[in-house]
């Protein structure tokens, strides 16, 4: 695991540096294009200021931005004890120094992500749809996958990638729009066409078109293999690959689409939220590996260790391995001899109880008023309810709301 963490730190630095380069070149092209031949240097300067602001933002506020863009709300143990316990269990299994903060997103589409700067102040967010659809073992599988992202420092890398890719896309789109609106100076009388500014303009256009693709490629390079690795570590935390496998299946089959996801935040999620059910098959530019492949690898694991995942991965993909060699000799891999554990023991709230517990949290948060009708029905009245009384549909009792 230590090698994986070191590799991620190197990639984080590489990503921040290469994005500086990309932005610098983009800034130069935009500068020359809009301000003439002498605009290159100020363009680069401006781009570097943008880069600095972005990097600092990603570092200090990235997790909060991600969480608020997704519409996530912090929960405490009293709100959702089972979710809280599962997160705590996986914190222990991953050997993290501190339990991540737990967030819930009110969205019927099941999905989850982790974010944060480092393991000490990470956060895990799940949707209410996830809590309603999955049983405890499946939830544990998903949380274990996210915990693996946290421990492997993937979250830090994804934070930078997300914020930087988002900014590059915005800048390049802005630049292109500016050119279409005629803001470019290449046709200006003062500059003339003989000093090569035509070539510069073409270069600028090419760059502006390429930049978002490049940004996407950076993203792609950092995120795809990571998903396999997180599946592998996640399975080694729970020692129960079936939990994650069946969760992935359920999530990918759910008909709903996630509301608060954008193309810049999509790669964070356990399953790409921007794809419809029919489009789940991955193509070359996909940030997520194909779901059925992930499921098949997990299902053909002989035990619950990293080495089992590696073997299974080689079998299913018929390709090279995915787990670094040093990792395979570590403690977690040695557990390969241990059989995968059985489905966990303990009490489970029924699907209905579970759903009510999740909904109750949001009703409380949104200030709904709870009325217990004598006939056994419970009414919940929104704070902005227009009528002064609410009728119980079962017994017809009118409940005065004043």
């Amino acid at each position: 695991m230590w090698e994986q963490i070191a590799a991620n730190r190197r990639k984080s630095i590489l990503l921040v540096m290469s994005s500086a380069l990309l932005l610098g070149v983009l800034g130069w092209a935009l500068g020359v294009n809009f301000m003439g031949r002498n605009g290159g240097v100020p363009g680069v300067m401006m781009a570097l200021v943008v880069w600095l602001v972005m990097t600092l933002t990603a570092w200090y506020q990235g997790d909060n931005i991600m969480l608020s863009v997704a519409g996530a709300h912090r929960v405490q143990k009293e709100d959702l004890p089972q979710l809280f316990n599962v997160v705590e269990e996986m914190t222990l299994a991953a050997g993290l120094p501190k339990m991540p903060a737990v967030y819930v997103i009110d969205d019927p589409a099941p999905n989850a992500f982790a974010t944060g700067r480092r393991a000490e102040n990470a956060a895990i967010a799940v949707t209410s749809g996830l809590l309603r659809t999955l049983d405890r073992d499946e939830l544990q599988g998903v949380v274990a996958h996210e915990m693996a992202h946290i421990r492997n420092k993937d979250i830090q890398l994804m934070l930078f990638a997300g914020v930087l890719a988002g900014a590059i896309v915005i800048l390049a789109e802005g630049g292109l729009r500016g050119m279409w609106l005629g803001g470019g100076r290449s046709r200006s009388r003062r500059e003339g066409g003989s000093d090569g500014s035509g070539i510069v303009a073409i270069l600028a256009v090419v760059l502006m078109i390429l930049a978002p693709i490049l940004a996407q490629l950076i993203y792609f390079a950092v995120s795809r293999k990571r998903e396999y690795l997180a599946d592998a570590s996640g399975a080694s935390f729970t020692r129960y690959p079936e939990g994650l496998a069946s969760a992935l299946e359920k999530i990918s089959r759910a008909p709903q689409r996630l509301g608060g996801a954008t193309s810049a935040t999509a790669p964070m999620y356990i399953i790409n939220p921007l794809k419809r059910t029919g489009e789940m098959a991955a193509n070359a530019t996909s940030t997520h590996p194909p779901i059925d492949e992930r499921v098949r690898i997990l299902r053909s694991m002989a035990g619950g260790g990293l080495a089992d995942y590696e073997r299974s991965y080689r079998e299913v993909t018929r390709g090279g391995g995915v787990i670094p060699a040093s990792e395979l000799s570590s403690g977690a891999a040695a557990a390969a001899n241990q059989p995968a554990r059985e489905a966990s023991a303990g009490p489970a709230p029924s699907a209905r109880e579970n759903a009510r517990q999740v909904d109750d949290f949001f009703y409380r948060k949104d200030g709904y008023r709870k009325l217990d009708c004598a006939c056994g029905t419970t009414l919940r009245i929104p704070p902005d309810f227009a009528t002064p009384a609410a009728k119980c549909p079962r017994c017809g009792t009118l409940h005065d709301l004043r």
């Binding site: 749809g129 709903q256 689409r257 759903a355 909904d359 919940r380 009528t387 549909p393």
Partner: protein, 128 residues
């Protein structure tokens, strides 16, 4: 959530740990697909024939997509609105009353559990 017909906030009624969203003004009912799944124990979508009608199109209260009119019930005379994305089903007030008043579940194009739950939640009231 706002009523797709009157656009006023709806209230929630929970019975046997299943929730329905109700409109206090038009007595319409939103049956969320998550609640349907809880009731039926799985996620299968309801199949019903699409209908041609001049009844006003309503938008899904969750995803805002225009909902499709589907025929259910004996003689295919009751129309309910179904979200194309599968968010849930919308029953107008009169539709719920007609559904609840009919004892014969088999004649309706609804799973028996759904019909039974609606009958339980909206016991037939004289004059409605």
């Amino acid at each position: 959530m706002k009523c797709p017909a009157c656009r006023v906030p709806m209230y929630v009624a929970e019975y046997q740990q299943i929730e329905l969203d109700l409109c206090g003004r038009c007595a319409g009912v939103w049956f969320d697909s998550g609640e349907l799944a809880l009731l039926l124990g799985d996620q299968r979508p309801l199949d019903a024939a699409a209908a041609l009608t001049d009844e006003a199109t309503r938008s899904c209260p969750l995803c805002d997509k225009p909902m499709a009119k589907v025929n259910i019930g004996p003689g295919r005379r009751v129309l309910v609105d179904r979200c194309p994305r599968g968010c849930g089903l919308w029953f107008d007030g009169a539709e719920v009353a007609a559904l609840a008043a009919d004892l014969d579940a088999a004649a309706w194009g609804l799973p028996a559990a759904v019909h039974g739950f609606i009958r339980e939640m909206f016991p037939a009231k004289g004059g409605k």
